[in-house]
Structures are given as C-alpha cells and as structure tokens.
Symmetry: D4
Subunit: 161 residues, 8 copies
C-alpha cells in the first residue's frame, strides 16, 4: 500500500501548515501521497500538466487547498477525471468565505467536493480521500472503521467530573 495514491496540491507555500493536516492523516493510514505547490494563477500550465498526468501516474484522488479566489480545485478538476476534493483556506480578511464559495459553487459538469474551511477541512479531505480509496481497498475500509471507533471512544472517555 505504499504507492502514490493521493495528490495533495496547494496554491501557495503559505497553505502548507493547513495541508500538512491532510498529509499527517494519510501518513497515519499508510497511504502514499505527493504534496505539490502549484498555482492556478501563477503556474497555470504546470498545474494543467500535473493534473492531466495524475491518472496515468496511478493517483486515485486529488486534494487541492487554496485561499482567496480559490480556483485551484476547479482548474484541476477541469484537467482530470479523478475525483477532486477542495479545501477552502482562510487567507484573506473574509474569513475563508471567498475561498469556500469559489471552491464549492462549481458550475455543472466539473465537480469538486468541498470540505470545511481550514484545518478541519484539511483533515476531512484526507478522510474523504481514504473513504474513496476504501470503496475498493478493504484494508483502508477496515482502518477507517477502526478510526471511527477510536474517535467514538475518545468522546466516550471524556469525564467532566
């Protein structure tokens, strides 16, 4: 299970502290991933080429984190038929609402699955990617079940007294 399965892209190096949350969960699940900074606006060609090559390089899912007018996930979805997950990042004075709307309000035909703004979204992007991989990989599916049980147990172990 060490091949590259998930591409974790981000529009700027300043998104790294958020997108490392994604990487950490993928690492914990033992799923191979590649992190890449590519911008829909500053490196449009490289972004297009990178997205176009993902399927043939064996990737199964793409996760794109971007802030402001967050075009990255949509542009990547335009250049691949792999499932694309968008993480809106709070990078301006508008608290991430700009990135959320840019990420989620995709026109019909080019789908992006958006998760929550910022770190919770970055974590859930990894988990959603794992759920996608888990549709065919029973080992990942089993680990997701265990993860769910651990989360559950953590809550049940809380004692307020």
């Amino acid at each position: 299970m060490s091949d590259l399965k998930v591409a974790v892209m981000m529009g700027s190096k300043s998104d790294l502290p958020i997108m490392e949350e994604t990487a950490n969960i993928l690492k914990d699940f033992g799923v191979g991933y590649e992190m890449k900074v590519l911008s829909a606006h500053r490196t449009p060609k490289e972004t297009a080429e990178y997205a176009e090559d993902l399927r043939k390089r064996g990737f199964k899912v793409v996760i794109c984190g971007a802030g402001a007018s967050a075009a990255l996930s949509g542009v990547v979805a335009a250049h691949t038929t792999l499932p694309v997950i968008g993480v809106p990042i709070d990078a301006t004075s508008l608290n991430g609402m700009d990135a959320l709307l840019s990420t989620v309000q995709m026109p019909p035909g080019v789908p992006v699955g958006a998760v929550a703004i910022g770190k919770p979204g970055a974590q859930n992007a990894a988990l959603l990617a794992l759920r996608i991989l888990g549709t065919e990989n029973s080992e990942i599916a089993k680990k997701l079940e265990e993860y769910k049980q651990k989360q559950r147990q953590k809550i049940l172990d809380i004692s307020l007294n």
Copy 2:
C-alpha cells in the same frame, strides 16, 4: 454495470426535483442507483440503519440532498465509511446559505464532500460519484472522458454570430 452503486438520499420529497438531476446523469452513465427519502430529523433511526447497511449492500458512494439545517449528509457520514457527497438545497428564505454551511462545515473526523447549492450541485454530485467509481472502473472513466469532451465540444460549437 447494472448493480446498485450509488445511493441518492434526500431529506424531503420536495427535494426530488433537484435530486432527479443526480439520477438522470447516473442513468445516462448506466450506473445503478437507489433513491430514498429519509430525514435526519424525522426518521433518525431509519436513516441510521439505511446508512449502516449501504456498504454491505454493495453501494460505493452516497449522495445526500437536504435544505435548511441540512444534517442528512453529516448524519449519514456518521453511520458509514463510504464516501458521502452533500448537495445543499435552497429550501428557505436564506437562498441555500444555511444548507451550504450545514453541509460543508463538518467537524474533523466525519467527512462530507459538498457540491454547489441546488441543481448544478445535484448534477455535479452524480459526476463526482462517477469519478469515484471511475477510480477503479475503467469503463466509467472512459465515459467520463467522453462526457468531458462532449461538454467541451458544446462550448466550442457555440457561434455568437
């Protein structure tokens, strides 16, 4: 390719005109789906049981459409480890912003991939589900590529003169 692959849930029968957009695309791709009205608030147990059974019934992806305080996709994601796609529906005076935030702002640990509000989102939910299926099913992947080319051609065929 006629088995049930995608569960298309919705919180109310009034969501049907939106969610039929999802069904139509799945039908066009020849992918088996099941439509089901179940409410996180009015039929919580049946929703939980339905979600829990999805994986063993052979489903690969769940799509949930809901308006207002749209809890359905999150509750379904809590009861399965399959990938869940949420379609926020514009069902109140707030233009779907309530459904969008309820759907997308999931806490870490329980992922939902949100698409756009209303019909464009319902269509993209189907396409995202197909992209997920297409990670392992080369026939679907091929059809997605063709769909993309048709979309592209439709734009290129537009003549403004």
Copy 3:
C-alpha cells in the same frame, strides 16, 4: 429541587468553557443538571440513546452546545419530545454563523429553540431552561423574578460620574 432537571450536552470537550456558563447559572438556581459530551457525528448511537432516555430519567429540558455544522441539537430533538435549546458555538473561521444557521434553521416538525452564539447564549440557555421549569415550579419562577430584579438593579446602580 436537587433532582436532575436539565441535560447540558455538548459536541466536543472544547465546548466546555462555553457550556460551563450554562452550568454555573443552573447551579446558582439550585437546579440539578448533568453535563455530557456526545457528538451527533462521532457518537451518533450514544447520542440517540442518551436523548431517548432523557424523559424517563426525569429530565425536563435539554441544552445542546455545538459549533461548525452544529447538528447536535437537531439530532437530540429528533430523539426526544422534551424541549431542546441549542447554543451555537463560534468554533470555526466563520464566527459562529455556520453554527447559528445549522442550529436555528430546523425544518418543520422538529423544533429547537436557538439562543445567541457563544457565552451570552450559553447563559441564556440556562435562563430559558429555568423559565421552562418555572412554568410549573413556583420556587424557580420566584427566583427568576429576583434574578431579573438583581439584573435591573445592577444597571440602575451604575454611576457614570
């Protein structure tokens, strides 16, 4: 008046500093309460069972604090016929607007009474629960009247010179 009357639930331990505002007021009024961390998304079954048992355990009111896509109060309201009060908590970059809309925009049939975002709401949730108890308990009603007078006097005692 020492029996358990009010269940104070929250979706995450990080909500505790807010929900302690609720507890403090209930304590001051000498009303029995139970605090419980249970998540609509991470412990859905335990949440359902806990909510279902509340009435037979003698509780009269439930208060639920949750942030982000705040499904807790709605899910609890789905599993009990006791009155449910929702406290939206500011837990994301969106300043609690996500939690507010998720809490208040309940579909018809499953009511939640929402209070303000954060600490003011947590305090008012306790006072609203006390008003509910005070509809039948004249001692609590009397204490609420005194509380109101004290609040009034506090304002009147302010001297700006």
Copy 4:
C-alpha cells in the same frame, strides 16, 4: 385542556399568514391560545402590560413573530419570566436575516428561544411550546410522541417508484 396556555403575539397584522401556522398546530393539539397583534415599537406600553399579565392570566408560553428589526420577542421576554419563543419573519429585502439576528442575538440575562425564519419556524414554535407544556402534561407529551410517529410514517410511506 381548553384553558389559554400559549400567547401568540405578532408585531404587525401582515405577520398573520405566518403566525397562523403556529395557531393551526396548537388547535390540532387542542391547546388553548390567544393571538394578539402588539408592536414593540408602535404599542410599547400595551406590549409591556400584556407581557406582564401573561403569567397571572395562566399562560405558560409566549410565541412572538416579528420581522425587520424584530424587537418584539426580546421586549416581551423583558416583561415576563415565562419562556419566550421568537419567530423571525422575512419582511424586508434582507430575506429575514435582519429578523433572525435581532431575535436570536439577545444579550445575557433575557432569554429568547429562536426558531427558523418564516413558516417552518412558526410551525416549530408551536411544537416547541407544546414540548414545554408536555414537560408536565402527559397528555400533550403523548400527543407529541404520536405526532412524531406520524411525521416518521409520512416519510416512510413515500414511494419514489
């Protein structure tokens, strides 16, 4: 069970089509109610006096519907210690967001339980009032349970084929 239990107030006669949704549910449950148009801004004294008399007249719960800068529920809550439920009404170009924030963002000390904007909220206001009455009235509690079962059954009876 025919005494007056619930006061249904509204700030303007134009709110009546919304607030009749509240009345209809109370009527269906056989609970006595009184409807009253009184404005926090245009009849402040009569509003204050009406609110102050509610408890001694035997009312248990107050429901207040108002649009725009919806001060009614807060002002009523200031003049009684009964539980107050606020229904924000979409009466301006802002889709009810003004009424929602005015209703729900009460300062600490004077609680209002807000429900959803418009008709869904007006219906839930009745149901929340009934849940409050049902904390002590087992007949109402039983009817609420039956209502819940009917709602559930309605969903389960939907056939999409």
Copy 5:
C-alpha cells in the same frame, strides 16, 4: 449653551469606551449632554420612563449605543418624538452586523438614524446630533463649519514625502 441638549444612552456599561467618543465631541463643542446606562431588556420600564421624559427635560436629540440584538434605539424612539440616533456596537462574534441590522432595519413609523458600527459611528452620532442642533443654533452651525475646515486642513497637511 450649557443646558442638557443631548442624551447619550447605552445598553451596558461595557459600551462606555465606545460612547465616550460621542461624549468627547459634544464636550468639545460645549454642548450639554447626559450619559445614561439603561437597557431595553434589563430595565425596560426605566428606559421607557427616561425616554418619555426627555423632551420635557429639554433634550433635543437622543443617541443610543447598543450591541447584539440592539433594541435600545428602537425602544427609545417608541417612547419619544425626539430624533434618535443609533450606534451599533460590535459586542458579539458577528462583528457588529447583528447590532447594525437591529438598529437600522426599523419598521415604518418609528425612525432611528443609524451610524457606523463602533467608534467611527459614536463620533458621527455626536456630529449628527450637532448638525441637528445646528439647524436652529447658529453658533453650533458655525462651529461645525470650522470643524469641517479643520478636518479638511488635517488631510491637506499630510505630506507623504
């Protein structure tokens, strides 16, 4: 010109640092004012009585600062026919948007003139009150003209080199 002309009310002592901006400008103009903490929700009667007496006590204008569900200016406007200026105060997680909408979206019949959220608004409330006084008081009108010239000169004196 030392009589009391402007009443400067606020809903909570925590609003004082904002409303002192109002007071400072009135003081600079030599206009008599009275500051008063009174709450629409916690001291409704005293607020009503205070507002009702303002005209006969010789006041010409009322300024009301309040945050959250900012009912003060509207309630005061309901109890007097003097011009009322509302200062929305940023007192919750919603950045003052709640106070702004509560203050400005008054229903027809009971006017409030709203100024900007927070300190800029508190300063402009004083200046608007002075403009009102200046409609009949030529000394104040002259001082306003001088103030305007001073503001203008301050800008013109800025050297960026």
Copy 6:
C-alpha cells in the same frame, strides 16, 4: 409652515417610487420639500453645488436615497453641515446590502443617519426629518405625537377574531 424645509434627493429617477414614500409623509405633515434627482457619480458638481446651497436656501434637513454603491448621502454630507439622512435602496442583486453598507459605514467626521432599506426606510426618513424639525417647531412635534397615537390605535384596533 409652507417654506421648503426638507430636500429629498435621489441618485436616479428609478428611485422615485421609493422616495415618493418620503414625500407623501412630508406632504401629510404640511412640510415644504423639494425633490431632486442628482447623482454623486454622474452629476458630481451639481450635487456639490446643490448641497452647498441648501442651508442658505433655508433647508433644515436633507434626505438622500440611493442604491448600489450609494455615495450620494455621504457626498452631500461632505458639502453641507445640515443633518443628512440616507435611504439605502435595493437596486442590485445584493438586496440592498451594498447600499446599506455604503450609506451607514461613513468614516468619522462626516455623519449620515441611515434608515432601513427601501420603502420602510423612505417613510422613516421623512419621520426622522420631522422629528428634527420638531425639536424647534412645536406644531410639528404635536403632529408627530398625534401620528404616533394613530399608529398605536391602528394596532389596537386590529381584531383577529
């Protein structure tokens, strides 16, 4: 009382149906007014000159209605020391939120009193102007009191049975 007292300006002829609400109330009170279409953006000089002349022409108050980026009230306030009331008009897809923020969020030094978006605001602008005039004109003050009583009576006369 037939002299010109209130200038009613608007940025576009399309604002007339809203601003006639202002005119109608002024007419009912027998207060002289002048209506004028002048744009901060399309007739900046004429707007400036018109505003500058208002005081010497005997006007006491200016009311400015404008939509979109509603600069009119602020620009008029910059060219006079008379009190300026701004009516935000819902003239774009943003429901008047753009006009509201442009009107109310004035920087310190140049005050505008904003009223509600659209017709309710246009009516209240007239009433606020009358309250300003009524600070020195006891006849107007008396009429405002009567108007208030009529409004009150209208509410009290409503019978819901």
Copy 7:
C-alpha cells in the same frame, strides 16, 4: 478605429444577455470587439490558448463575464499580460456574491479589475475598457468625455414636477 481591440469572453452561452450590454457600448463607441464563449472549467485549453494569443492578435483589453465559481477572469489573467476586467454574473441562488468574491479576491500577482454584478457591471466593463483605450487614443477619450456629458445632461433634464 475598426480593428479588434477588446475581447469579450464569457463562461457560458447563458451569460450572453448580460455581456451584450458590454458589446452594445463598445459598438456605440465604434470600437472593434470579439465575443467568445470559453469556459475555464469546460474548455481550459482553448481558454488558455485564446488568452495567450490575444496580445499578438492586437487586442488591448479583455473582459470576462462568469457566474458561480467565476474562474474565467483569473484564468485569463494568468495567460496574458493584457488588462483583464471581470464581470461577476448572478447565476446561482447566492445573488452573484459567489461570482463577485471569486472574481475580485484574486491572489497577489495576477490582477483582475472587477466591476459590479450583472448588467451594470457589464456596461461599466465596456466603459472601463474604453477608458483604458482612451489613455492613448484621444478620439476615444473625447467620446468618453461626451458620453459623460450626456449622462450628466440626462440627469439634469429630469423634471419631477
């Protein structure tokens, strides 16, 4: 002055009724333009190539209209160094706020000049393009001055009596 100077792009044929407002003004000024439907998401390559060729084809300005997650203007700006003007189009339930934020909140390095949502913006996009052309073309500059005078005169000719 009949060469092609302005490229008027739009993301979907449904944007045409809006973008024709742009074309009409350019036509009135006698400035050559080319209208083109190309989508950042559905025809990414053709969009990139079209944008890249614009300068060498002699165009001076690009105007891009798009709704929802409006990536077109940003993507075009990424592939040319010509000035790009973005027209946000109201194409979803969110009233164009999604398109506005996607268009205007560009990250540093890739500039887009955004105009208002919908038709007013489409008209102003043409005028802004003309102002850009008018920096070097004195005939256009003169026509802009005349246009301004006509606009001014239109306002001054309005008679409200």
Copy 8:
C-alpha cells in the same frame, strides 16, 4: 520612463501601509507615480480638482484605496475619464466587506475596476495599472512578462521535501 504615470490616492493616512504595497511595485517597474491623501468626504473639492487635473498632468491611471463606505474611487471616476482602480481596505469591524461593496457596486456609467481587499489588492492594483500602461508601452509589457515568469519560477522552486 520616469514621468508620472500613476496616481495613487488614498482616503486617509492610515491607509498608507496598504497603499505602499502599490507604490513598491510601481517603483520596482520604474514607473513614475504620485501618492496623495485626499478624502471624498473630508476634502471633496480638492479631490474633485485633483481628479480633474490628472489627465492633463499626463497621468494614465488612477489607483484609489479607501475603507468603510469607500467613496473615493467612485468620486474620482466621476471627475476623470482615466481608468480608475479601487482598492477596498479593511478598516472597520466588517472585514472590508463594506469597502468592497462600496467600491465594486458602481452604478452603470461610472466604471471602477475593483481589486481584492487589502494588501493583495494593493499589489494587484499596481500590476493592473502596469498592464494598462503595457498596452502601449512594450518595455512595461516585457517587464510584466518577466515578472510573471519570476512568479512562476518562485512557485516551481518550492521544494516540500
């Protein structure tokens, strides 16, 4: 290339730290600019005169930064036919949303090209001005192409390992 080409205006000296971002980029490109603090509200005449003189002084583009009810760019656009770029500045509790809407929602006839809120917008304002200058100045066009390549290279040089 040392003549004054770009006027960089701002409404208040407190906007300087933002607008220096504009200046720095213009300086790096060797393009002459003039910075000026002038307020649409506090120095309306000087603002009008300054704007009117810009074309004859040889300026080609105007950039205006302003916060709150940001009237500066619109007022400047009303007094010149040069292209005007507006930078909304986050100067109030509303995170710059007020300045953004005031800047971008210009009525038809008077165009302003708005860029992002704050520093990213201030930088892009400079780049958009340079693109405008570059339509006729091939040296600037060449530098813009190099700038773009440098930006691209910066992204490509990022190594995450």
